[in-house]
Amino acid sequence: MPTVKNAVIAAAGLGSRLGHGKPKCLVEIDGVSILSHLLSLLNDVEDVRVVIGFEERAVISEIKRIRPDVIAVRNPDFRSTTTLHSYAAGARYLKGDCLFMDGDILFEPDSFKRFVATCKPDRPRLAITKTKTKDAVFLDLEGDMVTRLRRGEPSEYEWANVAWLPVGFFEHLENTPVFEHLAQFMPIEAGILTSYEIDTETDLLQAQQNRHLFCLDTAATAGALAP
């Protein structure tokens, strides 16, 4: 039985830095939406929830096309709250641990699956990836433990905005970014994977240049086969 039974994808944001006028999870590379790519990676996860906000109707349609057994969770306050609140809304009423991730990331599938396969109950983990941008969330590492997530001086690795955490971590919230909220739970074990987050046009270009890493044809096939 796979350990990871629950996953929450935060896809409510405006994506204003990218400025495509649509949710970032619907941005396509080689005709495959990021959401389609993510859901194909989560094929073995029974309970997947996508938190929606901006242009929610379009995201619902894409979910229905790809994988109608995914639940859409509404975050109507997406304009005034952070991803932290989307994570909390997505994991509400769940128990145990959950895989949390942002809906604007492309992964090298094998590295993602390795990360997921090594998640264990009651052992929080943060996915980290080689630093690619200057405005990422950087981190301090001691051995394989992340002792701090922070902005500022770049580190060799950045947080990949993926985490395996107990849902209880999201019970008491302030309106802070996720990485600031997680400070109280440090240190947290790190797991390395290869990912590209799409925040800006430069990120998108970089991802397009590395498109061979993401095996997007698999996601396209999964989407096409969906009922």
Partner: protein
């Protein structure tokens, strides 16, 4: 001719559950979670009234009216009275026979059967028309009510306003989870702690989605979600 009081008494034998609001029970405190389901297009995989209309060759007209109602273009009560006027020509037995054969979502049926004492069907449909489904599901129903005369449905006694049974359920239960797919589910969602817009059959209107917490796209995942609540 029966007087009104006698008619109402006579109806009690047929009515699934009268939905008049009688205020909170004086002694018992509300506790636990209950689930209120819309019927047409949520538990049933087809709308019932167009099915009945097909028997009368009025399918197109009925589908249009149903669509306009679900989208909130025509108020539910007006639309229901209009649809009833069209369909009353069909005999009760024939209607019940059609209703009893309608396909139900197997996952939702299973969930209701497992949780009979805290599952409720809240529907604008007519109690006498849908009586066979009450037998099948075995849970309590709140529905629009009919007036019988001479063994036939003579008219509508009361058109369902879904906030009324929803408030009634909140006297008994601490938390109400509402599941529906149409415009007339909004008053129930307004009262419920958790609203789930269901799109397994139809696309739910934006107005319903805007008052919901979740959107479920098939019966299986809907019931998986319900089991976590």
């Amino acid at each position: 001719m029966r007087d009104t009081a006698t008619q109402l008494h006579y109806l009690d034998a047929y009515r699934l559950e009268d939905h008049e609001y009688n205020g909170p029970a004086a002694e018992s405190r509300p506790s636990g979670t209950c689930f209120a389901f819309d019927l047409d297009g949520t538990i049933t995989t087809e709308e019932l009234l167009p099915l009945i209309a097909a028997e009368l060759n009025l399918e197109t007209e009925m589908s249009l009216l149903t669509r306009l109602t679900m989208d909130g273009v025509i108020p539910f009560e007006d639309s229901f009275r209009l649809r009833f006027a069209i369909l009353r020509a069909a005999g009760l037995e024939r209607v019940q026979s059609i209703v009893s054969e309608v396909q139900l979502d197997p996952y939702i049926v299973e969930f209701i059967r497992e949780n009979r004492s805290r599952c409720f069907v809240v529907t604008g449909n007519l109690d006498l028309w849908i009586a066979p489904l009450a037998d099948k599901l075995g849970c309590e129903f709140f529905a629009s009510t009919a007036v019988m005369q001479g063994g036939r449905i003579a008219g509508i006694h009361q058109v369902m306003r879904k906030s009324v049974p929803a408030l009634k359920l909140k006297d008994r239960f601490e938390r109400l989870v509402a599941v529906g797919d149409g415009f007339n589910d909004i008053p129930m969602f307004d009262v419920a702690e958790i609203g789930i817009a269901y799109q397994g059959v139809h696309t739910a209107p934006d107005a319903l989605i805007s008052v919901s917490n979740y959107v479920a796209l098939d019966g299986k995942s809907l019931c998986r979600l319900l089991r976590t609540l």
